[in-house]
Amino acid sequence: MPDTVTRPPAPLVEAAGLTKSFKVPRSSAGTTRLRALDGVDLTLERGETLGLVGESGCGKSTLARVLLMLDRPDQGTLRFDGTDPLSLRGKELLAWRRRVQMVFQDPFASLNPRLNVAELIGEPWRTHRDLVPRGGRDRRVRKLLEMVGLREGDARRYPQELSGGQRQRIGIARALALKPDVIVCDEPVSALDLSVQAQVLNLLAELQAELDVSYVFISHDLSVVRHVADRVAVMYLGKVAETGRTEEIFANPRHPYTAALLSSAPAPVGSEGTSRQRILLRGEVPSPIDPPSGCRFRTRCWRAEDVCAEEVPPAEAHGGDPTHTAACHFPLEPAHPVPPVSGPQRG
């Protein structure tokens, strides 16, 4: 049957205006508030990978915690597959939690050393009892082991006997055990050696193709993000500076911060990097306790003008591609125009 739906279906996850602040001690006395997220919009399609990049303290992990409903936003809305998780309470919320899972950076710190691999993989079912019937659990563990490329014999081993790459596979199997729709991966390969990192990245890609799971992929490594992400959101001091299709962002950064970030990373090995212009930013990221007025990047931006201190730049499309937006009063010209692609871009 031909599909007659003309409007694209709503994204799996749609967040708008997410704001989150924390109480922190003031250097003199008393407390003050630190805005870790300040009006973040974001969408995630089913089966899509969204790369989240930005420097330390920009709010990536806070955003992840809000998406996981580990932290409640102070303001903003969240839609998840037609429901509003913020309105859920008690049992309903517990049941919803299954649908968004997390893979951590340090697989070792996140695994209970007293449980063996089989117990670790089955641990999430203690909370979500009805998901897999008791009688089917052993079989399911074996299946999960196989899916993440561990041997059946590994089931009785303990995390401390395993390598970093193997532990990260357990972390992935645990996340998969609950059949989630979304997995938030917070620096999932940064603790791994390059030769092992490639194995885990391949695994994540295979699982996505098989299960149609979506990833929010947080990484400081731009070459990793470029390889795995369909779309990228660049964050700076609690705001999204720029977002768009991965190729678009890497080829045509419009926000000065994105351009600086991309040019700061050493050129990928094998690329013709010698003619590249490096944008050296002055200074470091200012404190999120007292961020600059107007555009938060203005203290380091070489294009800043008076208006940048006065008005917060809205996120807008500056070229032909409406999905590519940058929050800047004076966006950069496109360097290498990429023809727009219709429909979701899938690797």
Binding site: E55, S56, S163, G165, D193, L194, S195, V196, Q197, A198, Q199, L201, N202, A205, E206, H220, D221, L222, S223, V224, R226, H227, V228, T246, A260, L261, S263, S264, A265, P266, A267, P268, V269, G270, S271, G273, T274, S275, R276, Q277, R278, I279, L280, L281, E284, V285, R300, W302, R346, G347
Partner: protein
């Protein structure tokens, strides 16, 4: 605002030669041979990257060279020649007199390496007071000068501040300032930017690059990051399981690797494949250094290993002009 890196300067005289350096570490489970017959040369005004994955012995090599090994580690063989004299043959006192003026190191855990209870001025002035016997006032003036040189804004007003009052990037600058205070001929930087944000990393690498050019320093850059090595080094020595497995000019080595491990590493880089295409990888994990495989340490993961790889250890030997690899079958690795 924008800068483009100029071509590497021509190679100068050998500032430091490390020859068959070996280090053992005593552990409760036995002796680990963490550095095994490591040799490399670094020239004035040139950067050598010591490249390898975690645990391959990069930092141990650096600490042995700098004379800062932990008590459980011992140099069990080899020579370290600094401007001609063998450091390992010197007495501890003589070696200390050389350190600073001759050779300095910026440690990996830089952010904890500053002493929190002394002002940065006191810490920066120390080398001048010890080695140049300067007065307190003259040494402090030198400290301000140093802070200025490494790009710390308003050095005069910040010289009396404590380390915690500086950001991560500024603390890294302070450590580099301490290391280069006495204008060493060799500077070892152990993962100098790993803990820093990318935009700050770029600033620090630029600083090291400028200091090297200014003082004709020989820079040993220890890194696990191929892209950092490719961009900032002239030569590279690739380490695996405690040994150098390949060495040569960085562009040549990366364009035409001659050891299966180097080749495997380059293939694992995400940028080497198209998006969506699976990455290649090296199967398995690096060996436990207490039980390194016999013969070639890489043989358990090597796609072209043969029987004699288990019985004969390959030596690092010349494979072409300025290039060396430790593989019996490097000609096949080069074309695999």
């Amino acid at each position: 605002m924008s800068t483009t890196r100029e071509a590497a300067p021509p190679s100068g005289a050998a500032a430091m030669e490390v020859d068959r350096l070996s280090v053992d570490v005593r552990t409760p489970e036995g002796t680990a041979h963490v550095v095994r017959d490591v040799s490399f040369t670094v020239r004035s005004g040139e950067t050598l990257a010591l490249l390898g994955e975690s645990g391959c012995g990069k930092s141990m090599t650096a600490q042995a060279v700098a004379g800062f090994l932990e008590p459980v580690a011992d140099v069990v063989g080899g020579e370290i020649r600094l401007n001609g004299s063998d450091l390992l043959a010197l007495s501890a006192a003589a070696r200390r007199r050389l350190a600073g003026p001759g050779l300095a190191i910026v440690f990996q855990d830089a952010l904890t390496a500053l002493n929190p209870v002394f002002t940065v001025g006191t810490q920066l002035a120390e080398p001048f007071r010890i080695h140049e016997r300067l007065s307190r006032k003259a040494a402090k003036a030198k400290a301000v000068e140093l802070m200025e040189r490494v790009g710390i804004p308003e050095p005069r007003s910040r010289v009396d501040a404590y380390p915690h009052q500086f950001s991560g990037g500024m603390r890294q600058r302070l450590l580099i300032a301490m290391a280069v205070a006495l204008r060493p001929s060799v500077l070892i930087a152990d993962e100098p930017t790993t803990a820093l944000d990318v935009t700050v990393q770029a600033q620090i690498m630029e600083l090291l690059h400028d200091l090297r050019a200014e003082q004709d320093t020989a820079l040993v850059l220890i890194t696990h990051d191929l892209a950092v090595a490719a961009e900032h080094a002239d030569h590279v020595a690739v380490m695996y399981a405690g040994s150098v497995v390949e060495a040569g000019p960085v562009g040549d080595v990366f364009a035409d690797p001659r050891h299966p491990y180097t080749r495997g590493l380059l293939d694992s880089v995400p940028g080497s494949r198209n998006r969506g295409e699976p990455l290649r990888f090296i199967p398995g994990n690096p060996p436990d250094l207490r039980a390194v495989p016999t013969g070639c340490a890489f043989r358990t993961r090597c796609p072209i290993a043969r029987e004699d790889c288990a019985t004969h250890r390959p030596e690092l030997s010349e494979t072409g002009l300025g290039r060396a690899a430790a593989c019996h079958y490097w000609k096949e690795a080069a074309h695999a």
